[in-house]
């Protein structure tokens, strides 16, 4: 060990003296890391702001039909003026070329985008999570089969699979969520497997076993609670990835066909002409999408640090 504090007391020539800030700089980083471990059990104000934003967006999306906002598909032509209208007290986020209110379209778009993100990662969690836990608990043949499936899924370029399937199927809300869900199985499953392995040989599992608990009980009562907590962090990150993936698919013309999604809203405003005339058409959904993805990423990162998940496969 080369503790820089000891070096301070040793006689050093001038050149080596200038080394001290270099090393000390590095060690301050290290020391701060240590104090961070001490205070790590706090999530911090940023985390709660992020969660607050996510909760607001989710609530708005769920309650959209009952909120006092304009009809997202109505053409609200203002007498004497030609759309698109810039943001005003009448149109908070402006309107598009068809005089439709961007604020309510963004909220309605959240319904589809968030559903895709949520269903995709929920599918990944249930399928990938249970496959990974089984592999991690039973090992042997199960593990070999499941690990091989994960390997194949991971080595398949995800985007290509998404393009391939979505270009061939009817692009409903269900199929898009399903495709993105399949893509999240392997990354989620690998983490579930690794976490399960790290707990499977612990004393409390052994205790349950020697008390005569059957496999299902051990998996559900002993292992699941330990695996679920770190997976929550992963779920937030995965949801962000799925929402972004939907946006990317929209730009390839492969997103959900019916209804507005954030990706499709941005796409309609992304043409050169409408960026010149009415940048708010794409900027409003971009800002909301970016804040949401940022909040999901940040909350996921904080949760992961909080529970100290070692494996980060997503």
């Amino acid at each position: 060990m080369n503790d820089p504090k000891d070096i301070d007391h040793v006689h050093l020539d001038e050149q080596a003296q200038s080394l001290v800030p270099l090393i000390a700089g590095a060690s301050t980083f290290h020391d701060e890391g240590d104090t961070e471990t001490a205070t790590k059990r706090r999530l911090g104000i940023g985390f709660w702001i992020a969660i607050g934003w996510i909760a607001t967006i989710v609530t708005a999306a769920v309650l959209a039909p009952w909120l006092p906002i304009k009809d997202p598909d109505a053409n609200l032509i203002q007498p004497g003026e030609r759309p698109p209208y810039s943001p005003s007290s009448e149109f908070w986020f402006g309107s598009d070329q068809d005089a439709r209110d961007m604020f309510s379209r963004t909220i309605w778009g959240a319904r589809i985008s968030l559903t895709v993100g949520f269903v995709a990662i929920a599918f990944g969690m249930v399928v990938g999570g249970s496959m990974g836990m089984m592999a991690g608990y039973f090992r042997r043949r199960w593990d070999a089969v499941v690990s091989f499936i994960f390997l194949v899924l991971l080595s398949f370029p995800a985007l290509i699979l998404a393009i391939l399937i979505t270009s061939l199927m009817d692009r409903t809300l269900f199929t898009i969520s399903f495709v993105l869900g399949v893509l999240s199985v392997a990354p989620v499953g690998r983490v579930a497997r690794a976490t399960t392995i790290s707990f499977a040989d612990r004393e409390f599992v052994l205790a349950a076993k020697s008390l005569g608990a059957k496999h299902p009980r051990i998996i559900v009562r002993e292992l699941l609670p330990n695996v679920v907590i770190p997976m929550a962090a992963l779920a937030l990150l995965g949801m962000a990835i799925a929402i972004v993936a939907e946006g990317s698919l929209a730009f390839l013309g492969l997103s959900v066909e019916k209804g507005a999604t954030w990706g499709k809203l941005i796409l309609t405003g992304a043409g050169t002409r409408s960026l010149e005339d009415a940048p708010w058409i794409s900027m409003a959904p971009i800002i909301v999408l970016f804040l949401t993805v940022l909040a999901l990423n940040f909350a996921g990162d904080r949760l992961r640090d909080y529970f100290d998940v070692k494996e980060t496969a997503l």
Partner: protein, 310 residues
């Protein structure tokens, strides 16, 4: 293993295309469904003969694969089948490749100085600000960044041209591609910087750095020659892995900046349900992924001799 993977990808893609799509309908249009009319039946049989559609699926796959590896990507599904898919690919692929190369070079040029700068003063104000910045760039989706940059730099400030003109000279086209390349490079640079900075900080605490410094090597030289060199291996690894992610980004960014590369080609082909084109592009990208993975494995074995023996 990688050959097996490519075979699996091609079989899956080919099978899905043929089972979920209807190739006959794509070639002939409504005529394909008109089986009572003897004239259209003749047409159908001619088309089946021409495209080998009457053979069972595995045989068609084998035929297609044999053609594909010898560089014959087949014909497009249109009336006359012109131009061949190969010509389309050889026109589009170089553009996407150029975009990727420009993006990666820019990303490296941004990330390395950025990482050296922050790693030499860890936890300073500059470093904290840079951590926040890189987090923002990593979180922002490529399409959102592309639209914002296009609006700010091409439309508002008119620094960059709005259109890609295929007939311009190489340098003009490179300049037209600069903003799309920057769009891809910024998030990539943030990823590289984050990794390289952590790696450098760890390396700077090693004993050999202390030895070098006490032997009188200057700070600058230690940072560049000793620390950076040993950190470069992990940098090259993430560089190669991230290229795979950049391919996806490039397809999307091409749409926004209207660059007629592979991304535009695949979207046009999907709209026309022209699946020899889709298939060829899918296979090229899958091939690129496999090659990248092989390169990453090679790099690993260079860093860690233990991998080589296993």
């Amino acid at each position: 293993m990688s050959v097996l993977l490519l075979l699996t990808v091609s079989a899956l893609a080919f099978g899905a295309m043929n089972i979920l799509g209807d190739p006959l309908f794509n070639i002939l249009g409504p005529v394909a469904l008109d089986v009572d009319n003897p004239e259209s039946v003749e047409l159908i049989q001619a088309a089946e003969e021409q495209y080998n559609l009457d053979d069972p699926l595995p045989i068609r796959w084998a035929l297609w694969l044999g053609d594909f590896v010898t560089g014959d990507f087949g014909v497009q599904f249109s009336e006359d089948g012109e131009p061949p898919v190969r010509d389309l690919i050889s026109e589009r692929l170089p553009r996407t490749l150029q975009l990727l190369v420009m993006a990666q070079v820019l990303a490296a040029l941004i990330a390395i100085p950025w990482a050296l700068w922050t790693a030499s003063r860890p936890n300073s104000k500059v470093d904290r600000a840079s951590t926040v910045t890189s987090f923002l760039f990593i979180a922002i989706p490529s399409f959102a960044l592309a639209v914002m940059l296009k609006w700010a730099l091409s439309i508002k400030l008119s620094i960059f041209p709005l259109a890609y003109v295929a007939n311009d000279t190489f340098w003009e086209r490179s300049f037209q591609m600069l903003l799309p390349a920057i769009t891809l490079a910024l998030p990539a640079a943030a990823i590289y910087q984050r990794l390289l900075r952590t790696d450098l900080i760890t390396t700077l605490q090693e004993d050999f750095i202390l030895t070098a410094r006490s032997k009188g090597v200057s700070r600058r030289s230690v940072l560049f020659k000793h620390a950076l060199r040993s950190s470069l291996f992990s940098f090259v690894t993430i560089f190669a892995i991230n290229t795979g992610a950049l391919i996806g980004g490039a397809l999307v960014v091409e749409q926004i900046f209207l660059i007629p590369g592979l991304g535009r080609a695949i979207v046009e082909a999907i709209l026309r349900e022209d699946f020899p084109v889709v298939l060829a592009i899918v296979m090229i990208i899958a091939f690129a992924f496999v090659i990248l993975n092989l390169i990453v494995d090679l790099i690993y074995s260079l860093i860690d001799p233990r991998v080589r023996s296993s």
